[in-house]
Amino acid sequence: MNALDKPRPGMSMIVRTVTRWLKGPILLFGIYIVAYGHITPGGGFGGGVIIACAFILVMLALGGQSGLGVFSKGAASRLDSVGLLIFLLVGWMGTYWASGYFFANFVDTPEEAWFTLFSGGVMPVMNVALGLKVASALFLVFAVLTGLKIADHVERTGIADESAPTGPTSHPGDKREGQP
């Protein structure tokens, strides 16, 4: 009974236990949807959202700190950029090695290998890059929004007659993710 009395971050014991069991399969399912994106519906967007949901579930159920401990905000931001840079790099390679067009598919697949995992040329690579970007971007949005501490001295709407328009304050602009 002692463990139930201690205040712990996160939700109740049932939720925490089930999350500990499920976080692996959810992540795996998301990776499956990303990887098979050229054969089955899904692909980068849908799979990325599921991967992000695995981490968000951990954050919600087990407390913010344990979620951020696994996938920190800095790492998410870096993976975000790396994902899209890989996407652009693969697209750029299409110009040099293939028919000279951006995003041309320059890996050819023999006919017997269609509908398997390693087919479709560069598309799986692009799906993986997209999945990386969407997952880290969505997780970063969630982490930033739940971590926003509303200032203690919330100003009331006493609209005093200000003599000059307020100049720029030193609050940092929030990180907004770019469009995938």
Binding site: T40, P41, F45, G46, W114, F115, V134, L138, V141, V144, L145, L148, I150, A151, V154, E155, R156, T157, I159, D174, R176, E177, Q179, P180
Partner: protein
């Protein structure tokens, strides 16, 4: 008939944007309106008695094109959903910051800029 239901959803969203007093309700109404627009876009690609747009192994392209619903609007809606997600995140962050600055979620009180 279904198209008019889509239009109803869009109008409900539009009414919410115009008539809501709270910033968060405006955001939610915008999301409802976007859902209506996505449904409209999906419905345009529908074909009566069509099959899902997944090619089976060994199926010829022409039979597939003759049977399935139009896959292009589905790709468009997917992209649009993700765009809407980005805009939603931005709007929610703005609502939180507005609360920090003005102390209220009420749009009629957030009116420093006029003229």
């Amino acid at each position: 008939m279904i198209y008019s239901l889509c239009l109803l959803l869009i109008l409900v969203g539009l009414y919410g944007v115009v008539a809501s007093r709270q910033t968060v309700k405006i955001v939610i109404s915008l999301v409802i309106m976007q859902h209506g627009v996505h449904l409209l876009l999906l419905l345009i690609g529908y074909r009566d008695g069509g099959s899902p747009p997944i090619v089976d192994p060994g199926q010829a392209v022409t039979t597939f094109a003759g049977l399935s619903v139009d896959p292009l609007p589905q790709a468009l809606v997917l992209t649009s959903i993700v765009i809407g997600l980005g805009v939603l995140a931005l709007m929610v962050a703005l609502c939180v910051r507005l609360y920090e600055r003005y102390g209220t979620f009420d749009v009629t009180e957030i009116r420093r800029l006029r003229g």
